[in-house]
Symmetry: C2
Subunit: 98 residues, 2 copies
Amino acid sequence: MKNPIADLNKIFDSRIRLGVMSMLIVNHEISFNDLKQMLELTDGNLASHLNTLEQAEFIEVHKGFIGRKTSTTYSITILGKQAFKAHLDALEKMINKL
Amino acid sequence: MKNPIADLNKIFDSRIRLGVMSMLIVNHEISFNDLKQMLELTDGNLASHLNTLEQAEFIEVHKGFIGRKTSTTYSITILGKQAFKAHLDALEKMINKL
DNA sequence: TGAAAGTGCTTTGTTTTTCAAAGTTAAGTA
DNA sequence: TACTTAACTTTGAAAAACAAAGCACTTTCA
């Protein structure tokens, strides 16, 4: 039998990063603030997880405005989509031995 | 909208513990050694994760023998089964907004 | 105009988690 | 008696998670 966890992506071990990715798969673009509120995180905590995802090139940042207020939004990259789907597939495989 | 990660169990953030649980859901009883080999872990690392799961009362230990050799085996508890299933449900819900 | 509040960070420092490696105990084997 | 295997525990180091505070900038409100 094969190691069942070998294909799970270490980056997605984190509930928070998993949450960010799942939100970004559903909504094309989400603001920092919305992520913060939905996931109930402090600024620093969220920022560091977003940073990890950005380093991995799984998400992209867009600096913009809403009216005249600054607004930073995030979206998933193609690479991120692939990695996330691969992770979900691996999870599914691991579990569907049930 | 509700916090999508609120129902994910922190204990299952770990790939390793996730792997242990998924193996124990499939196979009623597994030895330390088999887990070690399947998940490709060092003794200490596996032992500590098993310990975490045991503390949470998600798994049970059975000290026994194979022939005259000692053999420690592990099995999932009812609580563990519930917690794992709840976690998988939460994951599914989170993801099935796709 | 000036204080307060919001956005999106970075910095700081603590706590927690993760691991590998080495040591340990107890039993089995050559 | 030495060596091996099983299943740990201990140690220690590195990485990760996190809250809180600070910061730069802007807008809003009294």
